[in-house]
């Protein structure tokens, strides 16, 4: 493959030695390469360990009802994490996901209850709200080239204010809504387990988004844009259009999240979900998606959301105070980001 070139200076032999040294694989670097290749692997391992440990600590943890409860508790954050993953993959971050979802849920509920609009039409209006919010974020990011952190910090406040202005601060009860709006809160039995339709809807979204990210050119372009924007542009990818479509897709996912949220809480409240923004980022980060963009897997985010849910549930079953749950989640985040940094230092 390489002929020894006559022009090569005498140090060529040393260069060969140096490269062989770099190529040598230690067991640790081999583990790192595997984790690097499959970003969802490390959260999967953490999830497995957590389930085993909490199962040993308290025999109630592994009961079917408890596991079903955890998935229901995770449904809303898990859905927001889908939108968050899409945006973080493009090296952005969205602080407004929770606010968009709540705004959308208030619009859906108010239109159906106060304005008497049929349920399905109210849901479509909610989808329009999600898309409009995504379009605003996307427009500010692509057209004015503002950092996504700043854009969504601004729109977070705007959407929270709009929600309170629109709803007058009052909660809409689920009992007053048409049944289709609370449908995702219902459960159906499979054998001894009761499955929530909201959870099924969330998993369906994961399947669809995983397919699009993994199997289509658009998905590959999302990764390429997050990985190296300039390289993507030089390769002929319309970077701004890809970014815009990512924010729109995130908005659509958030509207579905609003529907799941109404079902889960059996209400639409303007004050719900203040901490959902950060919880969704937590899920994505613990799920192994890099905040620097271009690296990660959508399934990792589902695992990340489940890990947070399991830690909170398991620690409270073990009789620990809520404060320790928060402490544990904090440590998890830092450990997850440290592992990401370590993985990124893969042989280069």
């Amino acid at each position: 493959m390489t002929q020894q070139q006559t022009a090569g200076p005498p140090s060529a032999g040393h260069a060969d030695l140096a490269e062989e040294f770099l190529d040598r694989q230690t067991p640790l670097s081999r583990i790192r390469n595997i984790l690097h290749r499959y970003p969802a692997l490390s959260p999967a391992i953490v999830l497995l360990i957590a389930v085993v440990v909490f199962g040993i600590l308290n025999e109630r943890f592994l009961r079917v009802e408890n596991l079903s409860l955890i998935t229901q508790q995770v449904a809303v954050v898990g859905t927001l994490a889908i939108a968050q993953t899409l945006i973080i993959l493009t090296a952005g971050i969205d602080l407004s996901v929770g606010a968009v979802m709540i705004l959308s849920s208030m619009v859906i509920a108010q239109l159906a209850v106060s304005n008497g609009i049929p349920g399905p039409l109210a849901l479509i209006a909610g989808l329009a709200v999600g898309l409009a919010a995504g379009a605003l974020n996307g427009f500010l990011v692509t057209r004015f080239r503002l950092p996504p952190f700043i854009v969504t910090l601004g729109t977070l406040n705007i959407f929270v204010a709009l929600t309170l202005l629109y709803s007058g601060g009052s909660t809409v009860r689920g009992s007053a809504m048409p049944p289709v709006l609370t449908w995702l809160g219902s459960t159906f039995p499979i054998g001894p387990v009761r499955i929530s339709t909201g959870v099924v809807m969330m998993i369906l979204l994961y399947v669809v988004v995983a397919f699009i990210l993994g199997k289509t050119a658009w998905g590959r372009h999302v990764y390429a844009v997050g990985d190296d924007k300039e390289a993507a542009r030089l390769a002929g990818i319309p970077v701004s259009r890809v970014l815009m479509s990512v924010y729109l897709a995130a908005g659509a996912v958030l509207a579905v999240g609003a529907w799941i949220q109404i079902g889960r809480t059996n209400a639409a409240s303007p004050n719900a979900g203040v901490d959902l923004n950060l919880d969704s980022i937590t899920a994505v980060v613990i799920g192994g998606t890099s905040l620097f963009g271009g690296r990660g897997s959508i399934w990792g985010s589902l695992l990340g959301a489940l890990i947070v849910g399991i830690f909170r549930n398991g620690l409270s079953l073990a009789g620990l105070d809520v404060l320790y749950q928060t402490l544990a989640v904090g440590i998890l985040i830092i450990v997850a980001v440290s592992i990401d940094q370590w993985i990124r230092k893969v042989k280069s």
Binding site: M1, A7, A15, K215, T216, R220, H221, D227, G236, K347
Partner: protein
């Protein structure tokens, strides 16, 4: 185009594939190019050298559509062309490998080769579900690498960031040379590489030339230039000071022409 067609055009004709005549480009009062002409023939490596500010970057940008010249003509295979954007040059088969290596580190080799021109599965899976033909693209990537004689990239499913600098450069060059391109422009391809990796890239340049694909090579590295170039275009003060060959002149002569210490 197949290798045999390349070889035929190489031996039979001396019609330049890329021809530039009297290119002028000014930036305000600064003259970047002052009437530069250049010919690139099939199956040759043409090096462009020059001191900083001599206009070699501007020349390359005009040839690849990154800048629009104020005056002068460009011909591809004898037909006059006007490049407004890099995409225009790409349409005419002129592919550029940029100094900052336009590859996506987290994507694998095959994905990088097909980045921006992905192929979908045939039938409903492709048209309705927009599914990528991942296997097909990997197979074609392998074929293309074999055709280009790039032996350093065996596994096309490896993420590019796991590769060495030379292998990454090979991916970038392969993307430029693949899929029926006519001219490959390499901007400082060995600048960031070690000795062994530089040699790999220079070998790759020779291989491309031997397969009939002409290469324009911009480099600061005189030994590299004299190693692979068939002809050397020396830019000085916005003009072409001389076009020499490694046989007709020594490295010292070239540096003297470049700096103005000697006339060609």
């Amino acid at each position: 185009m197949t290798t045999t067609e390349f070889a035929a055009s190489h031996t039979n004709t001396r019609e330049p594939i890329l021809k530039a005549r009297n290119l002028v480009k000014t930036f305000g009062r600064v003259v970047g190019l002052d009437g530069v002409s250049l010919d690139l023939y099939p199956g040759e490596v043409l090096a462009v050298i020059g001191d900083n500010g001599a206009g070699k970057s501007t020349l390359i940008k005009c040839l690849t559509g990154a800048e629009v010249p104020d005056a002068g003509e460009l011909y591809v295979s004898g037909q006059q062309v006007h490049f407004k954007r890099p995409q225009d040059a790409r349409v005419h088969g002129i592919e550029t490998v940029y100094q900052n290596l336009a590859v996506s580190p987290a994507l694998d080799v095959a994905s990088n080769l097909f980045l921006g021109r992905e192929e979908r599965l045939p039938g409903l899976l492709g048209s309705v579900f927009r599914m990528l033909d991942t296997k097909g693209m990997r197979r074609k990537a392998k074929e293309e690498l074999t055709r280009l004689g790039i032996s350093t990239l065996q596994d096309v499913t490896v993420p590019v960031e796991n590769l060495s600098g030379g292998q990454r450069q090979a991916v970038a060059v392969a993307r430029a040379a693949a899929f029926g391109s006519k001219v490959v422009v390499l901007d400082e391809p060995t600048a960031a590489l070690g000795v062994r990796e530089s040699n790999q890239v220079l070998q790759l340049v020779r291989d491309l030339r031997d397969r009939g694909l002409p290469v324009i090579l911009i480099s600061h590295n005189m030994p590299h230039v004299f190693d692979v170039a068939d002809r050397i275009h020396i830019q000085r003060l916005g003009k072409c000071a001389a076009t020499i060959t490694p046989q007709s002149h020594s490295m010292t002569d070239a540096v003297a022409i470049m700096t103005g210490a000697a006339k060609a």
